[in-house]
Symmetry: C2
Subunit: 282 residues, 2 copies
Amino acid sequence: MSQARLMDGTALARRIVDEAAKKAADLTERTGTAPCLATVLVGEDPASVTYVRMKQNRCRKAGITSRHVPLPADTTTEQLVGTLRDLSADPAVHGILLQHPMGPHIDERAAFEAIAPEKDVDGVTFASFATMSFGLPGFVSCTPGGIMRLLDEYGVDPAGRRAVVVGRSAILGKPAGMLLLARDATVTYCHSRTADLSAAVREADIVVAAVGRPRLIRGQDIKPGAVVIDAGYNAGNVGDVDFDSAVERASLITPVPGGVGPMTIATLLEQTVDAAARQLGV
Amino acid sequence: MSQARLMDGTALARRIVDEAAKKAADLTERTGTAPCLATVLVGEDPASVTYVRMKQNRCRKAGITSRHVPLPADTTTEQLVGTLRDLSADPAVHGILLQHPMGPHIDERAAFEAIAPEKDVDGVTFASFATMSFGLPGFVSCTPGGIMRLLDEYGVDPAGRRAVVVGRSAILGKPAGMLLLARDATVTYCHSRTADLSAAVREADIVVAAVGRPRLIRGQDIKPGAVVIDAGYNAGNVGDVDFDSAVERASLITPVPGGVGPMTIATLLEQTVDAAARQLGV
């Protein structure tokens, strides 16, 4: 049996970032202002610190200024909302990234909603979710947005095809399904309460695994020729799909790592530059 | 073969409206203020005029004041947005209903977004769509909300069951699917681009038809014992489901009329009273 072609997220992400860097340079030259992403971090969770630092580094390489706003771990929701409102109103800031998850004492939703939709380059607000869902202009959640770009890059038109999204988180599964629906796929949402996951996956022309359970999706359930997008990331670089068996049946599959992962930050950078261009009137 | 039991929306809606009327009377007695729904109508489309008048009559009977705001047909989006913002800020108004569809010169989305979420008793804003989608407190779109009430009334727990929603409009299909997903159904969205609608419907334990095409869903595609919710309304009181054949296979089915239809306005009235109670601090 022939093996699936790999969807190279690393290469596509690099092209997107290069393109964003060009736009950022052009914008800086024309307006005297570089695109600026505010990164807001509550507390000092080591993983979160690392993620934010990585995003800042990637911004710098792309010619995007980042303004880091570290807040103490005991920051209240009210204080955080105040900070995010200030950043939303600050004309020198074009995009806002609130690193999450945050501590349980923070009302995460209240915090997200304090981000102005036109600066929501991470796609976490109600408004962004709704514009994604209704196929309207707006920023997308970065990972689902990156998934759609991968499909486009590899010539996969979702229209009329059955897509099965496994997972229903607010920033991954739910918006991924809505973006596929807006592109005319017949979309099924599966999750922990789905009675027969295998049966649902077997129907799929496009599988999006976005649930965070190592190797939950097995090759025997992949319809021959299906497109398999693995957005899971688990310890030891293991995805939500059992790659070794799925690669034997899929036509296209994302590796882990190097598939969906790199697309997330590329989408963030691209949307930050787009936000800056819009706000600077270019 | 045994026939499906009918889901009596007329009776359930009457109970919901009676309950809302009791709450409205109680609220009026305790605060001296009756719940107030503002109804905004652009132009004089005869069907829209009739709908608004019907809603006003139903409000009156339930002890809800309605404040009618008729606007000329050539009202601009900007003017409409201004009116809706004023109503959103007016403490004497507890709920806002913007009759739609409106003329093509109106940016409907801009108008909806001018409605404060806490007065969005028709469930049309981005915020309401997102709270429905994320299972958070908020107002629901009235028809999908009514569908969920019908399911509850007849003891249908969507958890773990396969639900197929046919149609993906912003105020019916999309939110209906999201509400079912929030209740742990495995949800599939079908629509005009779905390649094999029959195959998808045949999988469904719960079918929600919400597309506005007369008798699109035929009995032969209903899984024996499925629950069939027909939210279609077409000329001649014909639903989206071929009732005569579907009733032979379903376990529960909504008639047209008298199924989903009456639930929509009942939900509107209930949410208006709830909005008033919250705003009046009761």
